[in-house]
Subunit: 430 residues, 2 copies
């Protein structure tokens, strides 16, 4: 085989079995979104390159698949959908009914080095609320995220929703005289905390531009893994003005409590998120092994960055790759995903009736039932075997106008005439 | 607004309303596919460039968005999915259960000049049968295509399934001593017949390398718009050996008759299709104004071209853009696509019960109902107005443990306690 005729490394072929798994995950995301009052949207798979580089930070910019079209325009395949969302909302802000509660399941591409849990092409559930400053919007997104995890069969023992705060970090870094223009670098460094072995992280911290006092306070912040708002006030309110920030965190925890999902959630200052556009509360759904199943937060400036009005915004993304691995590990993938199912498999039991087989198949399909027949002449035994392999609920043996219905699971057989059968085929599927 | 922060021309933003339309079309395609016994698959959105250039012909090669990754590999966004399908099937041919009856709804990109009905990014339903040489496989694909058109509300008066034959053209061109290596050029020219004004097509034909006799016979073939197999035999069997070809066409018409869709179908030699990989019967679903809603045919060599075994294959594609325009013109888009719908909108009728609102919303959602509430404090009247705008079936006014359910359509109100309501919320949606 010519070596080029393979899938590109880091991409996936979805054969029917893999496709059923993908559909199971995406259908669940959709169902939970609609249930939570979100509406679906989507954007083009490629955009002007600038849209992605303007504010997402270096990590994303390095991962772009970019190209130039015949008109010399610099374009790129989307590595995330949030910039497109900001562009779309900014463009029609005055015409959109509020609140903007939208979700999407975009296909995204990143030019990463492929590894377990990280591919160059994947699907990501995105849930966002735009135009609501109240921290209730963040709680609403976190609820949707937890509701999906729960729907997949996961529990708080499997996944922890860790909630951090960018404003608290900003206030502390300001108090340490870290220059504003270096703030993103520090937060990007902090975000690597879980992605690197501890000694590699220590080395990065030591080699950074930070002085000893700054490094020491950062280490202190990083030790706040499971804290209460009271502890935050005790530890930091003497040093910086974090009253408003802590009040919002406290409100958020109240909402999460009312939503009945407090047991999933924990305050954890180690979470800062890697993207540069976050401005408020940030969070990550973390599974064993420090694997992020989902992550998000508030990004109040992004609409302005893409030329729109000032509008608050918040949301999260959940990718299909890490989630799929986790569900598989936990044995939470439904077993019946492995087999397709067909309602009826129609068999010509005698010679010369094949046109009637096609007629019956067509009538069943028009009636909304899935129905099929063999594609080459075979004896009845072989056709029954194929019906079984195809997962058919019933076989229909046809000879003239007389039918014999065979329920595949029980083996039970009943003779019936075609007209009576077509009056109510659903009866045989109960 | 910075001029770059717009969607690239020829791509579409799917705001919730456009997304509902897209989902309506794609859900219908999926439903019809499953009903006809096809299984869903998908491939990566980008592949090695060569996969697309090896056999699709010049038209596709010119329309590729190609790029180079960091490793220097030449890649391209898929302009069609058939090459990926051939690659995937070739790779696992011995492990796949037969027949391979697969469908997909890929997102495709082509670097075309955007115009009405032709965009640079679109969705295309693809339905294929691989490994079945019998013309029944072609009939099966045509049935699925027609079944979808019917499901969308279209009739034979709206769309005509025109069926042509590549082997017949090949036989005639051979008899005219058109060199094999120029055959694809002639067929590509013939395919332009409907895409150009008549005089522009005449000019192309006159300027081509064809001599007068060749041109004259081609014009004769092009006059066979609505023919019978008998007429084909009368007109051509003296000149070339088309016995087998005509027998297959005759068989195909028999199958289509048995399937009950003969009234949609017509033999039409003008249909040859633009792609170079077709080898057998070809067809196009044509609406008024010579607009192709779908097109396909048999491509028996493609698996070998991508390095696989010899396997017969046949299938078609139907794009969302032309179809969407047609359905809109005919008034066939469901009216309720315009509005979202929510089961319950929960309202705090008195102060201080907002945590209970969130609790009720969470319980309804966990029960599988779509439920929402306001995101900022408003009086009851304004909240009811929002419930109405959101298309809620019922509003739930909460004060303490007492609820008042308001059916939005009738305005009817009932008082009930929260526990009784939560026992069976579905009762209020009937």
């Amino acid at each position: 085989m010519a070596s080029n005729f393979q899938a590109v490394k880091g991409t996936r072929d979805f054969y029917p079995q893999e496709m059923r798994l993908r559909n199971y995950i995406i259908d669940t995301w959709r169902r939970v979104s609609l249930r939570c009052g979100f509406e679906e949207y989507d954007a083009p798979i490629f955009e002007y390159l600038d849209l992605f580089t303007v504010k997402s930070g270096e990590e994303i910019a390095e991962q772009l698949f970019s190209f130039t079209d015949r008109g010399g325009r610099d374009l790129a395949i989307r590595p995330e959908i949030t910039p497109s969302l900001a562009r779309m909302v900014a463009e029609k802000i005055n015409a959109l009914p509020r609140p903007v509660k939208w979700f999407s399941v975009p296909r995204l591409c990143r030019a990463e080095r492929p590894q377990r849990g990280r591919l160059r092409e994947f699907f990501q559930w995105n849930v966002d609320v735009i135009g609501v400053d109240d921290i209730l919007a963040d709680a609403e997104c976190i609820f949707a995220c937890v509701e999906a995890l729960r729907e997949f069969g996961l529990t708080p023992a499997d996944v922890e929703m860790r909630i951090g705060s960018r404003p608290l970090w900003t206030a502390v870094l300001d108090s340490l005289a870290v220059p504003t223009e270096r703030r993103d670098d520090v937060l990007a460094l902090v975000d690597k905390r879980f992605k690197l072995p501890e000694d590699a992280f220590d080395k990065l911290l030591a080699e950074s531009f930070l002085n000893d006092e700054q490094t020491s306070v950062i280490r202190d912040l990083l030790s706040h893994e499971n804290v209460t708002v009271e502890q935050l006030l005790t530890d930091y309110s003497g040093r910086v003005d974090i009253g408003q920030t802590v009040e919002r965190l406290s409100q958020l925890l109240g909402y999460l409590e009312a939503y009945g999902i407090a047991e999933w959630c924990v305050l954890d200052l180690r979470v800062v998120r890697g993207l540069a556009y976050y401005t408020g509360v940030v969070y990550e759904a973390i599974a064993a092994g420090e694997r992020a199943v989902a992550g998000g937060g508030r990004y109040d400036n992004l609409l302005q960055v893409v030329g729109g009005p000032a509008e608050s915004a918040t949301g999260f993304g959940m990718g299909d790759v890490v989630l799929g691995i986790l569900l598989d590990e936990k044995g939470l993938l439904p077993a019946d995903l492995a087999s397709e199912s067909l309602n009826f498999f129609v068999i010509d039991a005698v010679e010369g009736v094949f046109p009637k087989v096609l007629d019956l198949v067509a009538r069943l399909r028009k009636g909304g039932f899935s129905a099929d027949c063999h594609t080459r002449r075979q004896n009845v035994g072989k056709q029954l075997k194929q019906a079984d392999k195809r997962g058919a609920r019933c076989s229909v043996l046809l000879s003239g106008n007389d039918l014999r219905i065979k329920t595949m699971a029980s083996g039970e057989e009943t003779d019936i005439d075609a007209t009576t059968f077509l009056d109510d085929p659903g009866k045989w599927l109960q």
